[in-house]
Symmetry: C2
Subunit: 384 residues, 2 copies
Amino acid sequence: MIDIQRAPHLAPSLAERGQPGSRFRVATPALILDIDALDRNIALMAERAKRAGLKLRPHAKSHKSSFIARRQIAAGAAGVCCAKLGEAEALAEAGIDGILITSPLAGGTTARRAAALSKRLTDFAVVVDHADQVRELEAAAGAAGTRLKVVIDIDVGLHRTGVPDMQGAVALMQRIGTAEHLALNGVQGYGGSWQHMKGREARYAAVEQGVAILATAAKSLKAQGAAVAQITGGGTGTFGADAALGILNEVQPGSYVFMDAQYRDALGDDADGAFEQSLFVQSSVISINQPGSVTVDAGLKAFATDAGPPRPATAPFAPDAYAFRGDEHGRVMLPAGHALAIGQRIELVPPHCDPNVDKYDVYHVVSGDKLVDIVAIEARGRSQ
Amino acid sequence: MIDIQRAPHLAPSLAERGQPGSRFRVATPALILDIDALDRNIALMAERAKRAGLKLRPHAKSHKSSFIARRQIAAGAAGVCCAKLGEAEALAEAGIDGILITSPLAGGTTARRAAALSKRLTDFAVVVDHADQVRELEAAAGAAGTRLKVVIDIDVGLHRTGVPDMQGAVALMQRIGTAEHLALNGVQGYGGSWQHMKGREARYAAVEQGVAILATAAKSLKAQGAAVAQITGGGTGTFGADAALGILNEVQPGSYVFMDAQYRDALGDDADGAFEQSLFVQSSVISINQPGSVTVDAGLKAFATDAGPPRPATAPFAPDAYAFRGDEHGRVMLPAGHALAIGQRIELVPPHCDPNVDKYDVYHVVSGDKLVDIVAIEARGRSQ
């Protein structure tokens, strides 16, 4: 439950917990999490990973919350991934262990924070893609008296992060080998842009080409004597391909817990898309003075805006009924003959779940029409 | 200063306060506020309003912070506007008085919160655009034993909120007249879409047409015996037109404290655009494995994304050097022959300041190359 001492403004909503209809009486705009759909999504991915013999380390950059991480770990996940060190610190503070940082870190202060986390947790690793990072982490781990696990990030075609070639990977491995307080644990390759490719075949082809690079890297490092325990990568959209290709031994899907409009469009009815929508933004009608539409209290600040407008979650609204109307407002077109009163609620499916979650401090956890709890999104805004 | 007990992760940056170069050693991505540019912007708008004989009630939806609101009030502002009740509650909690809520409120619980704020503050008003809101506010104000000031929101052509015609405005005025615990204080008309119109003449023409509606409404209400003390509206982009037309007696500019790429493009060298950039996002280089570009730690989660990509704040980068590379990363193209090391900093001008600020918990306040303080953005995420 949320620490209500720090968030007294949530007290009126929380006081109604468990009462019929309480879902639709929370203060809006509110981030709504359907606990039943969430738990089914968590169970389904755990089952898929188990069947494929893959270690599951879901990406917490999607949910940024110990509440969800705990449920994932209880269902069999090995821990979680974090995109940023600040996220990992926030989740570790909330009691989560088994964390892989999937982006390279920069700077001495950051390296010292990573070393502190390595000391505190039983299972903690960070990716590296450059000798300067190795130097900084080695110094920090030495000073802290810890042995820090590192994973070499390989560029599998996105040219965003990662060592760009095999000689580079081997050189970095050798550099890590000279670092007394670092332990090489494996390789990572992540194809962010593959996740939302439309159509199973296009996604599978992209993954096949990309992970072949990762397979070569793992082989090159092994040939040089490195133990490559962890071959990690993948996401919600590429799980099927990752399982079929059998190169990764650990997968990092994130968005499957929530789903969003973007993933629905890309994955369609494919097995990778067989997750339920569990995340919504609830808005309230605040103005009804225009014929044929209403104005709601959720605008540019209430949604991620990088993937188009949100979609009404339920009938009778058309999928394209919502339009942004500035920072604080949205317009929802009404079906002919339909009217709404001031204060009525409209729930919307976020266009892109990860950055949408990052705008909210709490999940309003619901089951059916009841508010079940309000839980903290501890790592929101902790992208440093 | 930030309550470091609640944000221990900021302690390392804060410890360097006042030291040369400390601006460029904060944990990134960080929202940077140039205090000198901010104060010059605040002084310039105060001077413009004073010269035009306009009451200034800057919009706090832009900055969401008591630190900035206090400086605006110290420079002569009558108080601040808030877009949402939750914002007003957060700023009132931080000691700010003189608040106008510029969006209609919906629901009994919300009305009770508004009545509580009316009791607590010496100057507080909310806009209304429908009889149902009047009914809810009257009931709540009566129960709380307060007299709540209301302002009739007039639709000046945006069809977002506001009473759409003069008969409606008069009818709402009469309804307010029957409400013992409400006091009509004036009218509001806001043209959000006028603010970013390119070119002074287009903006002035739009404002002229829109505020004529507001003038008619004010006249109609006065003819019916209402005291219309407050005629409020306007923004950063329309200040010149609002001052020239002389219909408003109170203006609500928000973005002038920061400026952003969108406003720069629209306002150009016009007097309305003569404010300095005071707001930046500072990123760190985390990967340098690609020729000609670097990857930084600021992506879709670090910026508002409704108005294109951010722009590098300083040479040697081209204005379009930055591209989004997913939730957590950006790519910055380098000029020929230029190289950067891991950990180096790049500051960027936000595309759209208001929703950009709403992603961060704190401002890193800087003067020159020194970090001066870290201050809370108390109303961030308080859009309920």
